[in-house]
Amino acid sequence: MSLLIFLVVCGTGAVLGLADRRPGRIGRWAGPTGLLAALVAALFIGSQTRVTVGDVNLAGSEYSGRFLACAAGSALLACLVAMASGWPDELAPAALVAFAGLAVATTATDPFVALAAGAASATAGAIVVVRSTPRGRLSDGRLAEIRTIALVVAAFLLAAVAVLRPAWNAASDVPVFVLAFFGLGIAVAIRSGAVPFHVPAARLSRVAVPLAPALLLVWIPAGVGLLTISWSATTFGIRSDWLNAAGGVVQAVAVATLVLGALAALVHDELEEIAAYSILADAGFVLLAFASRSSAAAEPARLWLLVFVAAKTGLVAWAAAASRAFGTSNVGRLRGWLRRTPLLGLALAAIAVATLGWPGGAVFEARSTLIRLALPGQLQFLFVVATALSVACYGRLLAVGLLPPTEDVATARSERPRWAAGAEAMTIVGQVGNEAAQIEAVPAASKRRRSRTAALALPTPAATAAVRGADESAGTVAGLAAPPDSVPDRVPADTAQVGPGFRHQLALAWRFNRTLEVSLVVVVGVSLAVALASGGLGAADASRFGIPLDAAAHSTPTPAPLPTPAFTTTPLPTLAPPATAFPSSSVGPSGSVAPSASPSPVNTATPGQSNGR
């Protein structure tokens, strides 16, 4: 039932959000409300969740529930940050469309349905691409997006052809598997923005709406990667030279992405580009999991995908929050940001910890396991290299924040609760008529503070302007829905540290300090990522079990290895469906895998390996 609610909520929210995007209309709230409802519904998706409508059969699992909840929660975090830093109307509906497709893909027991739904979810990326005719044809974001979508769709459908295994009229169907493997790998690489295909990803800040990298580089690639690694261990576990060559290509792409992506994140100066390169560098681990073609890689890859979604969404949100707070995204002009926004600094440190982990931690072990399984021994040092580059990237940002602040940073409003102009004016409006009583209400106020309070009690033009400004930037939910201010909050010249009391002052400072609000939202989201990185919130348990597609993949007969001698009179074994069915499933006449009556997720955990638990 919860899965059906999730699908209905996603569909309704997406339709309403896309249909009516005028300010103040219901469609504008449909996206965030739908995400919140989807998050709640996803939390109830478990191994007992079933949706059967006619011939339609969807079965949930612990991991699919955690993955969808993680994605919906991350999207909600991004939307909350977006409300304050430039609300793109397209982000929430696009996320809902993508999550609806991923929900079907991660719960479908039919391989073709899962792959088609995964491909359909990838089409949601078009919603967040800015429709403008570009100057240069090479930088046409629309063309890059539609080509990426077409490639993902073609690769997934061809993979469906391969895994459904028609009766090929050839001695061996290995070439089909090689093509499917290569297509899936390239599709994941292009969708993730892996290094040879990284240019559109790096230009997303110019060709897509704000915070679009969260959708295009994190949520959709994570879902696509989850579907992809479900097949890598069993379906593509064929010993073939051609398949090894294709695996080598995918490994090379993954290694280049790991190293060059982290290096690019280190040398770029725009926060959006740094975030994009950092994301695509970490997406290299998904490619490594796919290239390893090992069952042992499934569990760490699934855990890594959960952390990847939460932590990298946090990084996108952090970049948007920092850009919004200081009015610039250039690292050179963000010197001293940490002094003004220490909570954002804490969030960045937490993002680094969640992404990289710590020795013995779940995500650290997952990353190292993926490297160990996917790369030969002489390339194991790349784990240290990638980690060092990532540490250097985060360290650079933190070090820049500790430098003396630039003018942009110094004039921006900090996170420190202070008696803002809006709060002053609001207090003034409330106090007109009883100035004396209000002045007396100031506890332990010095003479100077009393006099300033009395002076502020006069309804001056400045105070009127402040009231107007307060109306525009009023916090809380209603204020968040208002069109955001594109310029950063500036500290008023005359900021008085007076008020009716510390608690009231703190409450009003919270209401009128948008920077503090956004920073706290980012911190909360990132703390969830840290919890996931430690294996908490059920992440480690859920990662041991796969999605129903894993069960279908494991019920698929593993192809027998091809014999090496070619000149033999005995026919080569093919991957045609065998006559005997497996106990948990049955192979139909067309080669499609029919789910068993009670499809239970397959525990693919390697004995003795529990990811830090």
Binding site: R21, R22, P23, G54, V56, G86, W87, P88, D89, E90, V97, G101, A108, D110, F112, V113, A116, A117, A119, A120, T123, A124, G125, A126, I127, V130, R131, S132, T133, P134, R135, G136, S139, D140, R142, L143, E145, I146, R147, I149, A150, V153, A154, L157, L158, V161, L164, P166, A167, W168, N169, V207, V209, P210, P483, S486, P589, S590, G591, S592
Partner: protein, 295 residues
């Protein structure tokens, strides 16, 4: 006896040819709808009525999305680079290849579906390589349709859930295309994109950055700069003429009747009142003679 799968397969190929070969977006939508409606009928046994109805509804929705995006601003694609007839010939050749090759034996579906699938895959290659977003999107939809036909030929008829998933995928593809070619982005996003672009331009000192988000607009071939507001020109009969011509010279020139009246009086035709230098220059300067190489 002519079988339904063969007719449906031919109709699918015909619709796909129109979709990837037409220049008008409405014709593209019509071709896509035709192909998407005919494709499920190419399988044998043919799907249930409910599944066919779902596919038809999905095809109509996809076509509506494309037409609706074209309603806001007329769109046209570049058309096939090799010409419509050549593209039709290529589709026919691919259909013949698909008819005679046998990668799967025995086939689980009709041979016509395999031939149509290969034909559609061949048709989609050109648009996906090209640089037109509308053609690339229609090519992607045609490719997905072709692979689905191959699946039905090689693996067997699709189940109802597979039909639903395939319909959702096709609608998503066409919807994505219509979104990408449509200028109808939300006003708030346009405003913020413009603000962001202005901010970046200010920061970088790049005066040529546009205010409509993303990057500057390059005038395409045949584009005419927006004409200035046409000034009313008094006519001899006391009325006022406002030229609606898009050509700047027509807009800036005096109206026709005074010229004709002057000619009738035997005078020389009136010259335009604006100097020649004031006439807008052509959008694309074309160098007829190459510059001499430097020594």
């Amino acid at each position: 006896m002519i079988q339904l799968p063969l007719v449906a397969a031919l109709a699918t190929v015909l619709g796909a040819t129109v979709a990837v070969g037409a220049r008008d977006s409405r014709l593209v939508a019509l071709g896509l709808v035709f192909a998407m409606v005919a494709a499920p009928l190419a399988s044998s046994p043919e799907p249930a009525a409910l599944a066919i109805a779902f596919r038809i509804v999905g095809a109509l929705l996809a076509g509506y999305l494309l037409v609706a995006s074209a309603r806001a601003q007329p769109m046209s694609s570049e058309g096939p680079g090799i010409g419509g007839a050549a593209e039709l010939a290529a589709a026919a050749a691919a259909f013949a290849v698909g008819w005679f090759v046998g990668p799967v034996k025995p086939l689980a579906g009709p041979l016509a579906a395999q031939a149509a699938g290969i034909s559609l895959a061949a048709l989609a290659a050109g648009p996906l390589i090209g640089r037109d977003v509308l053609r690339a999107g229609s090519g992607a939809a045609v490719l997905a349709l072709g692979i689905s036909l191959l699946l039905e030929a090689w693996v067997g008829p699709a189940s109802p859930l597979q039909q639903i998933a395939l319909t959702a995928l096709l609608v998503g593809l066409v919807g994505a295309t219509s979104l990408l070619v449509s200028p109808s982005q939300s006003p708030a996003t346009r405003r913020r994109s413009a603000a962001g672009a202005r901010g970046e331009a200010d920061l970088a000192g790049a005066a040529d950055e546009p205010a409509d988000g993303g990057e500057a607009v390059e005038p395409r071939r045949g584009d005419v700069p927006a004409a200035p507001e046409a000034a009313p020109v008094p006519m001899p009969n006391g009325r006022v003429s406002i030229s609606r011509s898009r050509r700047p010279s027509r807009q800036a020139a005096p109206a026709g009747p005074p010229d004709r009246a002057a000619r009738a009086d035997g005078e020389a035709p009136a010259q335009p009142e604006f100097p020649a230098a004031a006439a807008p220059a052509s959008t694309r300067a074309r160098r007829l003679h190459p510059r001499e190489p430097r020594r």
